[in-house]
Assembly symmetry: C2
Homo-oligomer: 418 residues x 2
Amino acid sequence: LVNILDLIVKKRDGEDLSRAEIEGFIDLVVRGEIPDYQLGAFLMAVYLCGLNDEETLYLTEAIARSGRMIDLTNPDFPVVDKHSTGGVGDKVSLIVAPLVSACGVGVGLTAGRGLGHTGGTIDKLEAIEGFKTCLSEDEMRDALQKVGCFIASQSDDVAPADRVLYSMRDVTATVESIPLIISSILGKKLAVKTDGIIFDVKYGRGAFMGDRARAEELGDGLKRVVEMFDGRCMVTYTEHNSPHGRAVGNAIEVVETIGFLRNEKVDEGLREVCYRVGALMLVIGGVVDDIEGGKEMIERSHRTGEGLNRFARMVEFQGGDVRVVDDVGIINLADRYSVVSEQCGVIEMIDARVVGELVRDIGGGRKKIGDEVDASVGIELMMSVGDRVERGDVIANIYCRDFSSNLRERFLSAVKLS
Amino acid sequence: LVNILDLIVKKRDGEDLSRAEIEGFIDLVVRGEIPDYQLGAFLMAVYLCGLNDEETLYLTEAIARSGRMIDLTNPDFPVVDKHSTGGVGDKVSLIVAPLVSACGVGVGLTAGRGLGHTGGTIDKLEAIEGFKTCLSEDEMRDALQKVGCFIASQSDDVAPADRVLYSMRDVTATVESIPLIISSILGKKLAVKTDGIIFDVKYGRGAFMGDRARAEELGDGLKRVVEMFDGRCMVTYTEHNSPHGRAVGNAIEVVETIGFLRNEKVDEGLREVCYRVGALMLVIGGVVDDIEGGKEMIERSHRTGEGLNRFARMVEFQGGDVRVVDDVGIINLADRYSVVSEQCGVIEMIDARVVGELVRDIGGGRKKIGDEVDASVGIELMMSVGDRVERGDVIANIYCRDFSSNLRERFLSAVKLS
């Protein structure tokens, strides 16, 4: 067994930790044998002194191996996964999983819940009555064979060390450490083996990474560690100052997803991200040679309704009320209040962070892990970046329990006009 | 109330904390309202990002004010204090308190217990049967009036915040931070007001500061913060590679102290430190102009037996068995085992750290706060640096419960011959 105090001293003094030391650390984390003060001190030492690529790989491997390992690969067809670093109105997973699987590449997507100003794929799916996000390994394989895709929550027995470390990082101001972010993302992702992963790394107001340079630092790190792990991945970068698409909030994002897949209401910005991420999933899945070919294939599965069909089959397989696909009206939304613009101009930005925090504060997100989430609240943008707005135009609808002028003002403060 | 997470973020990002923030932090520490993980993370952020002089002053003041404040000054005579940064065989306080008070400067000395490889003044005094180190404020004033000096333990209600922080630093590898060391030393020292303090900052193998540069960094910091606090102090630096004097261990150091004050067995190295520190106490007390004048005065009080007399009165006032002054034989020592040199040469160094750890390990010190200490164990050096040793010479006596050849070898490994 390693001595945690020795590890704190080593990292504090800027020395590198060995594989055995990092494995020993994760072993103690899983056993719950590290006193809180030492875990806090160690995480801060890592935050401030960093981890090199080898240390990050060792930490990732140890986290991945701290629980059950799942292998989703099979000899019949490629299976890919995707991961977004988190955003506001980011319903890309809900859209691309069925679109990609309709092109012959299995999508085994494990996802998390929302925290802070960003939403979580699992919370969104749970807005569909009956939708079961907790799948056994057999159910996952079955979904891949019968539907071609699934979206499941990361179960408690996969990478349990990450849960301990993440909740501790959250309360010790050590979340924004690139090596810790990498090991947290990859510890969970690499515990579930697929043929390749697409990372959608976001930067800007709505993202955890404020600028492109820091996003690339994270993306490059993810790529290096996945390759050291003998895995395959591709990274794409998405600017994220304004929300993705028109809806922010769990149920309202499902409504937007279905409208998108039905080809009825398609936000062009959202289309760009979904086609790009979907195309890369086809590239890494090996069914197309390049991103252009991938986009064409995705466009076809979108246009023909094959994607919508897969979505319906996924909802059905995972126990959800499949009638939502034909009638989004059955999705429960809170009371609607319109927000009218008090000024005129062209929309330059709708600050995704402000919108994300607003939705969180009206009950749509979590301030801390374990908080209850109200799926029915959210914001629907009626206009988007580049649109001209006149005084008196309805700029957005807020779905909430208790509307107040304060909410209207907070929303309007997010809208930058020129 | 301040939010501890905000303070962690600020310090982590290298920003300066305000007086209100630091006062709020100490307030939370005293209330016990900071979760361990956040205290650990905050201390590591301070360790790695540092505190500037203002922040160190604010922290010191807040620690000093976290409990009872004592004022030992009086209109009749100056009262001074001294502080050593810790050493092996460091019985300087026991010797200089009576010598200085015999020269007309009151000595109000508050001291601590030993930790790690270094000894503590309070542990040493408790080797005298009946000696009471816990004095009330009235008893302290009374001792200054009737005896001229006292040596008391820092009571629990003085600077309580330091106790919480110190025990936390000990287990989070954040002890060796100069601003934290300064605020810990001064938080306790400045809670007890005197007319001036002498800091004996040690460096070398036996000290916490490995080299002179780091000792000066600490000494300069102590001076700057005391002056910002409108206090007076002087700093002296003492090289400390070999133990101070001949005895290391609580009871055996009392034996050496009495032999020294009786002018019977005087180690020249120990005399140099005691005269220098004592002279500075007289300078800051205002009874002499310079260190040379001070040394002459100290030498006189030593030679005439006035110092010994004060020591006896101090022991008597504090309830100790005063017969020890005439007969050190009544002091309880463990069984004695002689260590014979297996080589010959001139002694270049007797590694104080190795000796300190050896005495700690045979029961004379603490591995952690609260451990019991056995006053009767220790090491008596029969030779010191510069002496020529022949094979077969008795180089030291070890007083312990269970002697083993391993102890002999550990001791001999400390002796560097040329």
